[in-house]
Assembly symmetry: C2
Homo-oligomer: 95 residues x 2
Amino acid sequence: MTQESAEVRAKSLKAIADPARLRLISMVAAYEDAEACVCDLQEPFGLSQTTVSHHFKVLVEAGILHREKRGTWAYFSLVPGALASVAPLLSSPTR
Amino acid sequence: MTQESAEVRAKSLKAIADPARLRLISMVAAYEDAEACVCDLQEPFGLSQTTVSHHFKVLVEAGILHREKRGTWAYFSLVPGALASVAPLLSSPTR
């Protein structure tokens, strides 16, 4: 793995290496078509809207989630392949 | 994903979310039997022994690598399944 490739992957990993963000990602992934409205994603966490918005901002900037504004609400979906770039590294070889 | 599960996974992810550590992990994985002597792992990086040792310590404490002392040298290997616990989360659904 080159230094450049490692820096890119480390950046993505840092973005998701947070318990709240991991839970948000898994919730978005669980929705039909892996898309969820922000209005559905605050209550289960007990986090403020400001905090949830911050986490979403980190994930969008890291290219993990895609944000689409439709009317009043923002809809989040997983960016295809975004997480897959780190997945191969994370499958440990069998021994 | 429960809060507890998310915290465990976030901890593992934080341990590997570093470019040098990602490269160390991939180098260990590339060795036969996925085991490497610390003596083989310093030169290619251009990092000091102290820095490499620090990174290894983080990875061992996070349960990602196993360390075994044999004679003068320490040998590192991937802990089976350690990285696999985060891999399923990181396979994005197909769209």
